[in-house]
């Protein structure tokens, strides 16, 4: 809302310089965002909260200044002379939709001369960023900016039957508004009609062929109160927002209607000439109920202190409330007063509202800072230490943390997840149809991020994300499952200039997951080849399990999917049920005595079928139950043209040790020999 410094002064004779005024208003809750010098005036840009429509006018802001400064509020002087015929002899008003329009007033000004506005009026409107139209239209705008009451002027003779009917639109009824747009209406919308047709969208915009023109002589002036909800809904439905609808949908003052009409009528007669009809037609069917609905609210001095930590003397509280327009009803025992909110303060209904009124004028800056007493130790979210360990482990092994939107493209998500279509959650009102479903996997977001990185020329990308995925459930709410996913592609280590061409592969991602699981204190993961995933390369995919429980998948993106994304280099992904991992049984570290006797290492190179897995070799060796065998390490896999087809050479390092003695050569040779024999027999391997 724009407020003119000079105009404001007409209603409250304060002596605050503009900067101080801006600071004071800001500190009572009317945030002044900017002050601009326009001619010999200053325009204050006030960012009003939605609960204060009463300040959408100079009078409203002046009331705040009056409460701040103690300078009294001066209402505009209205010099109205009703010299014409009684209004009821000229026109009539009927309201058939009081639920949308509780009050409607009309009066007629006959014999006006439509023309340009006087310079002062043009200047005022322009300083508010409004264009001058003609004297009558300008006056209605002026009064709205001054008092906050939107008004509308009809050409009396453009109204069929020269009368007003305030009713709901009939279904499919149409109106062409002042902006030339034809609009189709519904029964949920209010129109101002004449005897035959709608002539205005009540409280929003006038009709095209009923307004003031250069040849208008007799003006029917409308001032009314419209209920906020209908205005907001109609305005949204028709995508039509105006200065009037902006005020009505936030809430105007029903009691201000006649006063604003008087003010405008007096100005019209003074500036455009003409005679104002006698006695306003004022249809206000439920005035008494509306008035009685305003109940006095108690203000307890003790409660004020309890909530704010401030002290206030009751007379000062009373002064503040009176200045803001409250009616003080009673004072009991010096510690309680009872106040009725003014009709323009739609935001006041309980004691805490009164407490805020007094406190904000007294000044929040006077509230002394205190700290609540100690409450003992705080706590992190369950699993947070695991989440932090996971993030730091993955960062340490080269992965950047990504955060993606929770809603995704349904095709992308479906291609990367095992969720059934009926498990998916659909947004009723997505911003974008390509982001219409809640994600069931994190992989969609990560592959999209990868796509963007490729487009920006980033070829070496390692990302991880931890976040929730969503599935329908039979419960009150859908399932929210915490997951963790990785994507990796490109150089194994960009900074290794001796191996700059080394590309990362499946085993790099597997290593990252092993590091993660190790740092979460969980037993080592098991990896079992799988061909079942539709989005992973069937020869390069594995199910990850921990303690016999499946917790995720790892693999290379299926070439078919990679083609869809136009990926030109292999991309590796993994996704884990992170919620399950965080709650899995952890290993309790126990001390193992350090070996007292030496370890002996024997290497072994085998020519073996490529189809024999490392896991199979390990389990054959394990089946021999050789107590002295400490571990088996793979140190080379060699594939070369000189080797027979379908064979490769595997080099293993076997470590032997005994807990209670130094092993002899004979003992080691015997154990090693058994292993070699077993591998040769089982797999048809050959020693190299």
């Amino acid at each position: 809302m724009k407020i003119s410094y000079n105009w404001l002064k007409e209603f409250v004779d304060h002596n605050l310089p503009v900067r101080e005024l801006a600071a004071e208003l800001t500190m009572v809750g009317l945030a002044v965002d900017a002050v601009e010098m326009v001619g010999n005036d200053y325009i204050l840009e006030i960012d009003l909260t939605s609960n204060r429509p009463d300040c959408l006018s100079h009078l409203g802001v002046a009331r705040e200044v009056s409460a701040i400064t103690g300078c009294s509020l001066k209402m505009p002087v209205i010099d109205l002379k009703e010299k014409g015929m009684p209004t009821t002899d000229i026109t009539s008003v009927e309201i058939t939709a009081p639920e949308f329009c509780p009050r409607y007033t009309a009066r007629v000004i006959k014999g006006v001369r439509i023309g340009p506005s006087p310079a002062w009026l043009v200047a005022r409107l322009e300083s508010m960023g409004q264009r001058s139209v003609n004297n009558v239209a300008d006056i209605t705008n002026y009064v709205m900016l001054e008092m906050g009451q939107p008004l509308h002027a009809f050409d009396l003779h453009h109204l069929k039957g020269e009368r007003i009917v305030v009713r709901r639109a009939s279904p499919g009824e149409r109106i062409t508004t002042l902006d030339g747009e034809e609009r189709e209406l519904t029964e949920a919308m209010l129109v101002i009609a004449d005897a035959e047709r709608p002539v205005a969208l009540g409280g929003i915009k006038g009709g095209e062929d009923s307004g003031i023109t250069g040849s208008t002589v007799d003006v029917l002036l409308e001032a009314a109160y419209f209920t906020p909800l209908q205005i907001r809904q109609t305005s949204k439905a028709l995508a039509l927002s105006t200065e009037a609808s902006y005020r009505f949908e936030r809430g105007t003052d029903p009691e201000l209607v006649s006063l604003a009409s008087d003010r405008a009528a007096a100005l019209i007669a003074g500036i455009a000439g003409g005679e104002v009809s006698k006695c306003l037609v004022d249809v206000y069917p439920h005035r008494k109920q509306l008035r009685d609905a305003r109940k006095p609210i108690n203000f307890r001095r003790a409660r004020y202190t309890e909530l704010t930590g401030l002290e206030v003397a009751l007379p000062e509280a009373e002064r503040i409330l009176r200045a803001l327009g409250f009616e003080i009803e009673a004072e009991v025992a010096g510690d309680l007063l009872s106040a009725k909110a003014p009709t323009w303060r739609i935001d006041i209904s309980i004691e805490e509202d009164l407490i805020e009124e007094v406190a904000r004028i007294a000044g929040y800056e006077h509230v002394a800072t205190t700290l609540p007493g100690s409450a003992g130790a705080g706590n992190y979210l369950d699993g947070e230490s695991g989440r932090r360990a996971a993030r730091r482990t993955l960062a340490a092994v080269g992965y950047n943390e990504a955060i993606s939107f929770s809603f995704v493209n349904v095709e992308t998500d479906a291609a990367l997840s095992d969720a059934e279509d009926e498990d998916r959650l659909l947004l009723f009102n997505p911003i974008d149809e390509t982001q219409s479903h809640m994600r069931t996997t994190l992989l969609g977001g990560l592959l999209q991020a990868l796509e963007r990185n490729f487009n920006h020329g980033n070829r070496n990308v390692r990302l991880f994300e931890i976040g929730k995925c969503f599935r329908k459930s039979d419960g009150e709410r859908p399932l929210e499952l915490e997951r963790l996913a990785l994507v990796a592609t490109g150089a194994r280590n960009e900074s290794d200039w001796l191996a700059a061409n080394a590309r990362l592969d499946f085993y790099d991602v597997k290593g990252a997951i092993d590091a993660l699981i190790d740092n979460l204190n969980l037993p080592a993961a098991n990896y079992a080849a799988t061909e079942k995933s539709g989005y992973l390369h069937p020869g390069r995919a594995a199910v990850i399990s921990i303690g016999g429980r499946d917790v995720g998948l790892i693999g290379q993106v299926h070439p078919r999917i990679a083609t869809q994304y136009k990926f030109k280099q292999p991309v590796f992904i993994a996704e884990l049920d992170f919620g399950d991992i965080l709650t899995a049984q952890k290993i309790e570290p126990r001390y193992q005595p350090l070996p007292k006797f030496p370890t002996v290492v024997r290497d072994l190179a085998l020519l073996i079928d490529t189809g024999v897995t490392f896991a199979a070799i390990e389990s054959e060796i394990a089946a021999l139950s050789i107590a002295e065998l400490v571990n088996v390490m793979l140190f080379d896999i060699y594939t070369g043209k000189e080797l027979p087809d379908g064979k490769h050479s595997i080099a293993l390092s076997l470590r032997y040790r005994s807990l209670d003695r130094t092993l002899t050569d004979e003992e080691i040779n015997a154990a090693h020999g058994r292993i070699v024999k077993r591998l040769i027999e089982t797999f048809g391997a050959e020693l190299r």
Binding site: L307, A359, V367, L381, E384, N400, S404, N429, S495
Partner: protein
């Protein structure tokens, strides 16, 4: 008593000793000449073998001749010979040390590397700036006795709006503003929903901090995303005042931005608090003198706050005449943008590695 040899006349003995001294003098001169001629380490070894070698060394042989002397002369001659031996050995050792030092110097030159070649580090990843901020804020509040809580991202009308005192015709509820998944199911539009869950689960005293994702139907632009992160704080106890809110926020801001940071509370409106306040803190960039970050005002808006609305307390089963509390909320994305000077917050969720790698 002599141990070996035969008796010899004293005058002959005197001559022998004199000859011996003459001989030692000659040997020392010989050695000095020979050592001067040595140029390689091999020649040095040969020199050593020739002079003091255990079997065929010149001085070793010379030692053997001492047996012919009387004990008194043997002692004198032996001492002279030993002195010479020490002299020879020291000379050779000096020579050899010199050669060793040269050899080491050569090796060191040979092994020289270019220390300016790039280090072969494992390229470490980076945590998302939102995570970095969130963890820092969590740490501060946990140390102040708060419990971090989480709530569902998909919420019912009741938690998202009704329980927060947001009237049924409030624009925030509209399909323009909130994402719906059903008539009464929406993506939460504020983490204030966690307040309600927390108050329903536990009776006061309560100290809760709820960081998390929230959703509003904003089309993405430089200052908006349809998803962002909020942190909501709640404290309910007996006798809690607006002063406690101010003190708590001030304490947080001091720990977050430094003890010179000021806070300012001004009246504002949020349906779930009354009285309500907007929190500003003095600009961390210019310390309140006015700059681009704070648009010249010296203050930066941190978020909304206030005393928990009695309707909210009552809905959660807490008697507002017995307990009072405060709540505050702040947007992490905005904070992130301000702290790191981001000019386009869409970058936060595009996951460009060139962006992510800027934060630690």
């Amino acid at each position: 008593m002599p141990t070996q040899g035969s008796r010899i006349y004293p005058e002959v003995l005197g001559q022998l000793l004199e000859m011996m001294n003459e001989r030692l003098k000659q040997l020392r001169e010989d050695f000095d000449r020979e050592i001067g001629l040595v140029t390689t380490e091999t020649e040095a070894t040969e020199l050593r073998d020739r002079w003091v070698g255990r079997k065929s060394g010149l001085l070793t042989a010379e030692m053997k001749t001492l047996g012919k002397l009387t004990p008194e002369d043997r002692r004198l001659a032996g001492q002279g010979l030993n002195d010479l031996k020490t002299y020879v050995e020291a000379g050779i050792e000096r020579l050899q040390l010199g050669f060793a030092a040269g050899r080491e110097a050569e090796q060191l030159v040979r092994e020289r590397i270019d220390v300016t070649l790039p280090g072969r580090r494992i390229a470490t990843g980076h945590l998302h700036p939102i995570t970095l901020l969130r963890e820092k804020i969590e740490d501060i509040f946990v140390s102040m006795g708060y419990t971090i809580e989480d709530g569902p991202e998909i919420e019912t009308d009741f938690y998202n709006f009704d329980a927060l005192n947001i009237p049924s015709n409030h624009p925030a509820r509209s399909w323009q503003d909130t994402f719906y998944l059903g008539d009464h199911l929406a993506l939460r539009s504020q983490t204030s929903t966690v307040q309600i869950h927390a108050m329903q689960r536990r009776q006061p005293p309560l100290r809760v901090l709820a960081p998390g994702r929230v959703f509003r139907r904003d089309t993405p632009d430089a200052t908006h995303n349809p998803m962002f992160y909020q942190v909501e704080g709640l404290l309910v106890d007996r006798g809690i005042t607006l002063g406690d809110l101010k003190g708590t926020i001030q304490e947080f801001v001091h720990r977050m931005f430094g003890p010179e940071t000021q806070t300012r509370f001004r009246p504002s409106y949020f349906p779930f608090v009354e009285p309500g306040a907007e929190i500003d803190y003095s600009c961390f960039k210019c310390n309140g003198t006015g700059c681009r970050v704070c648009k010249g005002s010296g203050w930066i808006e941190m978020g909304g706050s206030g005393m928990v609305h009695p309707n909210v307390l009552r809905t959660a089963g807490i008697d507002p005449e017995v307990f009072s509390g405060f709540a505050f909320g702040l947007g992490l994305d905005r904070l992130c943008a301000l702290m790191y000077g981001l000019d386009d917050i869409r970058l936060l969720y595009e996951n460009d590695v060139r962006f992510l790698e800027q934060f630690t």
